[in-house]
Symmetry: C2
DNA sequence: GTCTATAATTAGATAGAC
DNA sequence: GTCTATCTAATTATAGAC
């Protein structure tokens, strides 16, 4: 998001709200229907504005996608950083378990995150390169820094860093990404808060050595 | 695929090959670009035919999608059924480990399977309903029948059936679905045969109690 | 069975009024 | 800042020749 002065904000109080509504609608539709499947007309309709207004605020469809996705990744990074900062002095294994639990809860609260990743990271392209460079690499490096020392100490299962990362993210997120399938197939709503907590426990039991 | 007599096949030897080439191209493009993102013109181009020929052979884009996806799911079901049939008399836990290993290897050899699932099962719609009714439910029930007795015997981690299913499928498939991201992010090619076997071991170590 | 040509619809982006 | 009207290109599907 471009820097903006306080004066500009005060002069255009409603434009910010419009931008936010567009970003919210865009994230929902991009994540459910993919970049190509979500038309700018439908995003505009969901946001309660006319389609050319998206061009006015964001330029192209691609830039709108980056703004919406970037905001979500920043939410995740902020939420994890805040958790780690609040745990200075706590034992490493306990920190890791709390961070993993937070990650699972974030994945449940924001299934759009992994839906976007699953869409854009399965074939090469500009959006994959941008996502990895801007947002995914820092998360991966944070995960490695958190888990590798515990693996060396025998507290996390002995699996190479790449495999461990995809085991963790796949196991944590898939049930929420596929929530509509899960409801139809099993009758269980994975987004129900008690099911989210069961999933937290399940992921931790698979990742950490008892 | 509609039933066809031997006579018809013999009369039109090249039409079958054309159909197969179209199905192959369709599966690749649908799985990489999503249903909306894969244009019938591009599928035709990849198959080396003109676009109206898809209509001739498959009617609509939706029916082409079902034919391509159905064939892949039947491959998986056939491959798992064959493995189970070849293991009559073998101990339950060993059977389950071999079936899980086969499932991981199939996911590596055919990342299209989980790419399609990830695309279509994240929001309600006709394609989700069709996939679950025709293909996913039998797989889920097979997985439950295989793993629930082992869970009761303490040989598989104690997690409810729905969570276990999504833990298994998510952990098994995500690294292959996101192979381009994995290469860029970690430098590891998850489709390398030795990496596939490492992933088999990793999934089994997370799922089964040692 | 496969092609060329094209109809009908929808897409993202632009022009210009207010 | 938001709208209406419209441009150009791309989409799926159809018609009809060979």
């Amino acid at each position: 998001m471009a820097a903006r002065t306080v004066e500009e904000r005060v002069q255009r109080p409603s434009a910010d709200a419009t931008r936010e509504r567009i970003l919210f609608a865009a994230l929902d539709l991009f994540s459910e229907r993919s970049f190509e499947g979500a038309s700018t007309r439908l995003i505009a309709e969901k946001a309660g504005v006319q389609q050319p207004l998206l061009t006015y605020h964001f330029g192209t469809k691609e830039e709108l996608w980056r703004a919406a996705v970037g905001q979500l990744f920043e939410d995740l990074a902020g939420s994890l950083a805040e958790r780690v900062a609040g745990l200075r002095g706590v034992e490493d294994e306990a920190v890791a378990k709390l961070v993993v639990a937070d990650f699972v809860r974030f994945s449940a609260a924001h299934p759009q995150l992994h839906r976007i990743i699953m869409q854009e990271c399965k074939s090469e392209g500009d959006r994959l390169a941008w996502l990895v460079a801007q947002h995914i690499r820092p998360l991966y490096e944070g995960a490695v820094a958190l888990l590798e020392p515990l693996k060396a100490a025998g507290k996390v299962r002995d699996v190479s860093a790449a495999h461990l990362y995809y085991l963790l993210t796949g196991a944590a997120a898939t049930i929420f990404v596929l929530a509509p399938e899960c409801r139809l197939l099993t009758g269980v709503d994975p987004l129900d808060p008690s099911e989210v907590e069961r999933h937290v426990d399940a992921v931790i039991s698979m990742l950490f050595v008892p």
